[in-house]
């Protein structure tokens, strides 16, 4: 029973990836949900667990797209290797961005991540030979998952690709959940709560924040790589500031400090966005209202809302309240 507690969120995620195809008609849309959920997970690790509001997540997403695109186009790399390259490069770039940004706190930290986001955008725009500039990197192939010449999992149709992304998503979620439950994750919470005290009891704040940045960058880079394969393009818009903003908004709407919340946030953002945009082209305005609502009244986001609804449905459930407390 004790083990189930550790795995409860991973089990929830498995339920989500199984239910998504039943609720969503398009494989591409369902895949998009998981890809943005991955990016939101990376953002949540920084915002919810380390207290760092990064406006630079789009950098890692965009670079991940380019890295996978280039690996597939020029190196003819297999599926997993090209994604691994995206994660590694995402992590390395995060190390660089983090290295400079965490030297400052609060507003100046945010401004630095914003500055890096702009810088990388224009870098991608300028380096047309590598990134395709304005047009993006086109005709990115999507290889099957194969080993020793055998196809283990085809990725040709959008639902086939969804199955691959879903398996990968569950694995990455499980790994990240493990990280936030680990010594590192729990120490990051201390940094989020009170940096001065964390330093006074012996922790190297810079190193801990960098570790969070690198993990976040790798996960976001992976998401970017998956996105490039999904659309067959690594567009300039993936590295645009708007991507950073979307990832951050999904994370905040979902709720910070719990990884499953990011899955909720991304699902909501992508699915509701998709639905509303078919009704009203100015749907982003509604999103603005929602964000205001979350900021004013719902600091724990959709996850917090779901939690309090569940608690209200089961007033005698003390265990639920305990779990809620544990999650902060």
């Amino acid at each position: 029973m004790k083990h189930i507690v550790h795995f409860r969120f991973t089990l929830l995620v498995i339920a989500v990836v199984l239910l998504l195809p039943l609720c969503v008609g398009s494989g591409t849309l369902a895949t998009e949900v998981l890809i943005y959920a991955l990016a939101a997970l990376g953002c949540n690790l920084l915002l919810g667990y380390t207290g760092l509001m990064s406006f630079g997540q789009g950098i890692f997403f965009g670079i991940g797209s380019y890295a996978t695109g280039l690996a597939l186009l020029h190196l003819k790399a297999p599926l997993l290797i090209s994604l691994l390259i995206a994660a590694v490069i995402g992590g390395l770039i995060a190390l660089l961005v983090g290295w400079f940004s965490i030297r400052q706190r609060g507003t100046y930290f945010v401004m630095l991540t914003l500055a890096f986001a702009q810088m990388f955008y224009f870098l991608a725009y300028t380096m047309k030979d590598i990134t395709g500039g304005d047009n993006g990197l086109l005709d990115i192939p999507r290889p099957n998952l194969s080993a020793f010449g055998f196809t283990l999992l085809p990725t040709t149709t959008s639902w086939q690709y969804y199955s691959f992304v879903a398996v990968l998503f569950v694995v990455v979620f499980w790994l990240l959940q493990r990280v936030v439950d680990s010594v590192l994750g729990r120490t990051l919470l201390a940094v989020r709560d009170n940096e001065a005290r964390a330093a006074a009891v012996g922790y190297d704040i810079t190193l801990l924040k960098l570790a969070a940045f690198v993990i976040s960058g790798a996960v976001t880079g992976l998401a970017g790589g998956l996105h490039a394969m999904m659309t067959g393009v690594a567009p300039l818009s993936n590295i645009e500031y708007h991507t950073s903003e979307s990832i951050l908004i999904m994370t905040v709407i979902g709720g910070t400090g719990n990884l499953f919340a990011s899955v909720l946030g991304a699902s909501f953002y992508v699915l509701v966005g998709n639905w509303l945009s078919s009704l009203w082209p100015r749907w982003l305005m509604l999103l603005g209202f929602l964000l205001i609502g979350v900021s004013l009244y719902m600091h724990k986001g959709l996850y917090g809302l779901a939690q309090s609804l569940l608690r209200r449905l089961r007033p005698g459930d003390k265990a639920g309240a305990e779990i809620a407390k544990e999650i902060h």
Partner: protein, 255 residues
Amino acid sequence: MSTPILKALNVTKRYGKFTAVNNITLDILPGTVHSVIGPNGAGKTTLFHTLTGTTPITEGSILVEGEEVSHLPGYKRVRKGLARSFQVTSLFPNLSVRENLRLAAQGTRPAQALNPWKRPELLRQACDIAEQLLARLNLQSVAERLSAELSHGQQRRLEVGMAMAGQPKVIFLDEPTSGMGIDDIGDMKKLIHSLRENYTVVLIEHNMDIVMDISDSITVMQQGQILAQGKPNEIRNDERVRRAYLGSMITGGKA
């Protein structure tokens, strides 16, 4: 006479043109309670900040068991055996009391903190220290509560516990009784008194009753400088201290 466990030599801290701590030399002997007193603004807390590495010093030298530590940032001085509490309570407000203490205990092995796989419950030593401290600080009944939800007295005890958790050689307590009610002060006094069995204690305190009762030696500061140093009796009878520091305050407490 034993050799000092902590030695401060001509420690000076300037903020621009303002000298907050001016040329302070201190010898803290092992196993003693050494109090630093003085009126508000005398530079006591700044002296603490420089000794524990919260702020870097401008000039001077700080030796822990003969080893120079003044160039080290605060978090590295923890590994040399220094730990501190803060004048304004500084806890992890959204974490449980037990987790606060566990994290503080784990801080002496910060490399472990980077382990992204191991569950914290498996680091037995830090967990055990946290359990022992919960009992010693009488916080067992609130172990699972968030530290922000504790009463002020409990928070102040936890604040001292955070410094104890690192099992330091020298423990710096910055006004541990600040803002405490009369009932809680007695408990705190007992706690500080009991610390000398395990640690060397450096104490900033305004409550003269505590200072005179439990200190082995006292340093009186005024305007960033040392006005007098000595045993409680000597300080109480020092004419300069009486003049500078409102004689009435100093006469409190037993001999």
